[in-house]
Symmetry: C2
Subunit: 384 residues, 2 copies
């Protein structure tokens, strides 16, 4: 019935009343030491969670993660740092591990201190030992503006790759913050894990943009405790990519107010970097996003967005082709029939826009969502 | 009653039925030769209007402009270029000037040919000679999704600086396209005019962003026919800046769906370029724009947006200050009283966000607008 779980991981969630009565605390621990890799937001305005996480990941090992939802603990000064260290130290002590082996992540409103009275009672009431890992419960407890919990577990030989994620984006995420944690019992050397993880993140979470805004707190990490023994590295990378891509597609579909997933495939670019730049420009264009929302085959807006890459002097409109689904709208004359076919594709829930640049063999696919009234309502009414 | 007009300019508008029955054709001509300067979109996807305009501005002189509204004449291939040249040649012949002395601009839907039957009848019916320039009528005839006509005329010694503008933006304008034309009877050397014009555009139209999308057709130009004699150059630059700033503020206020003008003043930056980069990042953030729309003093989103300037390693949260109007919300603790005062400012129609970076003396002010349901409706329902 339930999906497989990686061996040797335990978890617990709890409701501490940080903002409402939903679960807002999560801890996931490996029973044994694990090698680890993590990437963090590039923001210049990070909080204690990211600062501590960067420091502790220098070792390439980690035993677990704690997440507090509904409060980002960002722009909270020395008091915020002291609070983060207290949470981390208290959980680590109860788990019998060094504090540096515990990643801490926070997501929610910026500029408010944790309600430490509730945090301290919550920590005191936490029951040990932890039960076997429950990815579904953990995925639910780390949600903020998400409307569905996002978790995945895929087999890889004798091992399992499990993951939980919340929020919307990575390099350009919503303030809801992207948090994603992978847990696997595969056995891999840390440098190999690190390289595989960074390649996968670049093609998945770094290819995702909901609204161009970069959170102060984004964190993506993987822990591999080796209990399932060695795996084929190439197979592991494929499985990790598939797991990450599933989460990315669910995150894009669940973007704030979103009604459609947008996938922009750029091919024929000078190199992959150019393809990514063009893809991001198109998927981030508010005029493209609103056209998709309205199921309007306005390929002129896609052309406009491509044109914004003003430093890419090798992009020549004469060599460009634009397709919605399988329907080419440029340079094929966009007759009424062509536009009707494109509209039919745009009325679906997963929209594919393909851009052929006609330069060389570079390619990259990016993921995003449409821009709707719902986005405005969620974010104009969100109260500090 | 009417505002002053620069001497020696004539104009006519007409309704050719390009899309509906509003005026959609405009011609403005100087009776005598004029020196000129112009800047165009940086888009890689430009149409014949911009291509022809760039070529003809190489001389530094121009006698006038023709504008066709409701059709951008972009991505229209060789036929589109032939049509643009036909319009330009026909008007120039009637006016008795070389075609290269006439700027042509177009704004509207991309990827459709001009309806040349209607264009040719319109050209044939055009009455000569033209009456004295009517900036209000010209400003109205070049509108597309604008809700108010935008024109200005300011005295400069014995001369007058008049201008018409439409659309929303410059480096990052709406597909509605920014078109702005200044007409003055001041006498200036072309190189001086060119330098002044570029400096003013950089601090005004290039400091404006409605939705980050860059049109294929943006054009800003100035014609100076010298009929009022020499002017003080410094005074002229101040007057030109004031005229441009008035238009920029009106364009931002009239941004698609906008209910508020947002002015982001960045001070204390390493240099003006850094201040501009930070200002643009803040004024373009959809989360800041929606917070302003909801009158939510969510300074954490401003902090987040500043943090997106990830390559600006000298930006240190410890040195940053954020104000809404006169109300500092960071690092001053944002108490309920402080937030209430900030909310009061945010309920106005002109919002000022000041960011002190605490690095050096660089400063730049950018202009934008809030993001509303109206933007979504206009752009999701706009039909190709």
């Amino acid at each position: 019935m339930s999906s497989p779980s990686p061996r040797g991981f335990r978890s617990r969630t709890a409701a501490w009343g940080i903002k409402d009565d939903a679960d807002d605390f999560t801890v996931v621990l490996s029973e044994v030491p694990a090698v680890a890799s993590a990437v963090f937001t590039q923001s210049r305005f990070v909080g204690p969670s990211v600062t501590l996480g960067r420091e502790s990941m220098a070792t390439g090992t980690a035993r677990g993660v704690v997440v507090i939802a509904r409060n980002a603990n960002v722009a909270t000064g020395a008091e915020g740092m002291a609070n983060a260290m207290e949470v981390r130290a208290t959980v680590a002590k109860a788990a019998g591990i060094p504090p540096e082996e515990l990643l801490i992540a926070s997501t929610g409103v910026i500029g408010r201190q944790y309600p430490m009275d509730r945090v301290r009672s919550g920590l005191a009431e936490l029951k040990w030992p932890l039960p076997a890992v429950d990815l579904a419960a953990a995925a639910k407890a780390i949600m903020t503006t998400d409307t569905v919990a996002k978790h995945v577990a895929l087999p890889c030989g004798a091992a399992t790759v499990g993951a939980i994620a919340k929020g919307v984006g990575m390099i350009e995420p919503n303030m809801a913050t992207l948090l994603v944690f992978f847990f696997t019992d595969a056995q891999l050397d840390q440098p190999v894990l690190d390289q595989i993880f960074r390649r996968v993140v670049d093609r998945t979470f770094n290819a995702l943009s909901i609204d161009t805004d970069t959170s102060t707190s984004d964190t993506a990490a993987i822990l591999a405790n080796g209990l399932a023994g060695p795996v084929d590295e190439a197979e592991f990378e494929v499985v990790l990519y598939q797991a990450a891509l599933q989460l990315v597609r669910r995150i894009a579909s669940d973007g704030e107010g979103a009604s459609k997933l947008i996938e922009v495939r750029v091919v024929g670019a000078r190199d992959d970097a150019q393809a990514k730049r063009v893809g991001k420009t198109v998927v981030n264009s508010p005029l493209v996003k609103t056209a998709v929302h309205g199921a309007d085959p306005n390929w002129g807006r896609v052309a406009m967005a491509i044109g914004k890459c003003e430093d890419d002097l090798d992009i020549d409109p004469a060599n460009v082709a634009i397709r919605f689904g399988d329907v080419e709208t440029y340079p094929t004359p966009a007759t009424d029939e062509v536009l009707a076919a494109a509209t039919a594709h745009l009325k679906g829930s997963e929209i594919v826009i393909t851009i052929e640049l006609g330069i060389a063999a570079g390619e990259f696919t990016v993921y995003g969502c449409d821009l709707t009234d719902g986005y405005i309502r969620i974010n104009a009414d969100y109260t500090t």
